[in-house]
Amino acid sequence: MADPQLQDLRQALRAVVDPETGHDLIAMGMIYDLRLDRDRALVTMTTTTPGCPLAGFLRMGVETALRAVPGIREVAVTLTWDPPWSPDRMESPRPRP
């Protein structure tokens, strides 16, 4: 069974929304990795494109949202574009042609 605090972290990330699509970052497939090291949250995330003007804001938003989770004292966010994001990472189903 998954760590309850890790579940809380995932829940907190569900509140961070990509403003273009209205989907949260987990549904967008932008969170590559989420780990917990005692009271420290470690996140590896991406954006839809490396030059995304929102990259810095999304990173700050993730830090802010996770820091609000009880028991979390420190958050380390790593932005990566390797592998690059693709729409195939999204949770939502494909539209019918």
């Binding site: 494109t49 030059g51 003007p53 804001f57 990173r59 993730v62 729409p87």
Partner: protein
């Protein structure tokens, strides 16, 4: 620092361009322009307010904003954006006033001669800003980047042909054959500069807005190659024309790669569309399809326009400038202005509280109605030029003006957040044309 890749004057470029668009449409109506009138000095003034003031300014502003997204590399000299904006605006006004001088207003002659210099300074400043990011070795394999580089070569060709014609018309010792230079001037401006830049930028923008995979297929590689072939042919035709020889065969030969290029681009966009993950289309993408139809129409008319000239050429140029480039630009302008406004006001609040999505700060019904009126008026304009109907063309101009005014009002509504409930608006909004990101104290209600 978040938001550092935002160019502070993008909305200044867009605002200036929209004012030029409205001015051009009003003057076209007031001067009673219609089919066959395009050699009149007033018509030349209106055409340059439209092409340089509206289309070129909005494209240059978009490139300054978008090249860092395309290349994932910030502009090294972003402060040059304001002088470039002022130079292109002043140059456009001087050139248009100078064209009026051809009608006997002698005081305008000086403006006519200095206009190419002022415009050249504006274009050069933009090139100095964006070339270092585009020409990085890591980005040169991207077709989108190559298209924008070819577009900058097209801009140089546009300026050279335009400058040569101004010198000739202004009575300088250097003279060129205007009949040879004018078609080349239009090919450089509409094709090499504006269309190739639009192709390059749209590959990235469409993929982002449709949530479609960005992978470049064989069509895109061919589009890049054919764009280079077209640019080389145009430059060859320019060299031939400047030497005084007959350049028409090269210009006519250009029709074949240009047609193939447009066909492959449209097929590539169709592939992107079919692979999208966004089922419901926003107005910007829905109405971009109309722009693509006008691109197909203007490309189909190109060989006939080159061969016959006259009405066919007028209709092809109108379909390209008003139907393809302007419909695409107006559609995307609403979306990009919404996005930049959202970043300014709400991006610093991500993760802190619930924020509206970008779509909520524009009104899709207003945008769709205005774009529908624009598209229908454009269709009427093309038909009126083909059939030589003066009254239908004036009706089309009136429709275009009403549509442009409605879009301008919608852009102001977006900047003022009029479509959001009052409770969701911050107490202090950023300036209407300067998109710097404000600290949380400004954004937090």
């Amino acid at each position: 620092m978040p938001g550092k890749s935002l160019s502070p004057w993008t909305l200044g470029w867009f605002g200036s361009a929209v004012i030029f668009l409205l001015l051009a449409l009003v003057l076209a109506f007031v001067c009673d322009l219609g089919p066959g009138d395009w050699a009149r000095p007033q018509a030349l003034a209106v055409v340059h307010l439209f092409t340089l003031g509206w289309l070129a300014q909005v494209m240059l502003g978009a490139l300054v904003q978008f090249v860092p997204v395309l290349t994932a590399y910030p502009l090294p000299r972003p402060a040059l954006a304001l002088p470039a904006l002022l130079a292109t605006g002043a140059g456009t006004l001087a050139l248009s006033a100078g064209f009026l001088g051809l009608d006997g207003h002698t005081g305008m002659q000086v403006l006519f001669r200095i206009a190419p210099l002022v415009l050249g300074c504006g274009f050069a400043l933009v090139a100095v800003m964006i070339l270092p990011s585009l020409a990085r070795k890591a980005n040169l394999h991207l077709i989108e980047v190559r298209m924008v580089l070819i577009a900058l070569a097209g801009l140089a060709g546009l300026w050279t042909t335009g400058g040569a014609m101004v010198l000739t018309l202004g009575g300088a010792s250097l003279t060129v054959d205007l009949a040879q230079m004018l078609p080349l001037h239009m090919l450089f401006g509409i094709g090499a500069f504006l269309s190739f830049a639009a192709f390059g930028v749209s590959y990235k923008l469409f993929a982002m807005f449709l949530l479609a995979p960005e992978t470049a297929g064989w069509q895109r590689r061919w589009v890049g190659g054919l764009a280079a072939v077209c640019a080389v042919l145009m430059l060859a035709a320019l060299a031939v024309a400047l030497s005084g020889a007959f350049a028409a065969p090269i210009r006519l030969a250009l029709s074949l790669p240009a047609l193939a290029l447009c066909g492959l681009y449209l097929d590539d966009i169709r592939r992107l569309w079919r692979n999208r993950r966004r089922p419901a289309l926003e107005p910007n993408m829905a109405w971009s399809r109309v722009a693509l139809v006008f691109l197909g129409l203007s490309a189909a008319l190109l060989p006939l326009a080159q061969w016959q000239g006259g009405r066919m050429a007028e209709a092809a140029v109108f379909a390209a400038l008003v139907g393809w480039l302007s419909t695409l630009t107006l559609s995307q302008l609403i979306r990009i202005t919404s996005f930049l406004t959202w970043i300014q006001v709400f991006a610093p609040l991500i993760g802190r509280r619930k924020v509206p999505v970008v779509q909520q700060i524009s009104d899709r019904v207003t945008a769709s109605r205005a774009l529908a009126l624009w598209s229908a008026s454009t269709g009427l304009g093309v038909a009126s030029l083909l059939f030589g109907s003066h009254i239908a063309f004036r009706l089309a101009l009136a429709g275009l003006f009403l549509a442009a005014a409605a879009i301008a009002r919608e852009l102001v509504a977006i900047r003022k957040l009029w479509h959001l409930p009052v409770a969701d608006r911050p107490p202090c909004l950023p300036p209407i044309i300067r998109p710097s990101v404000h600290p949380l104290s400004v954004a937090e209600p």
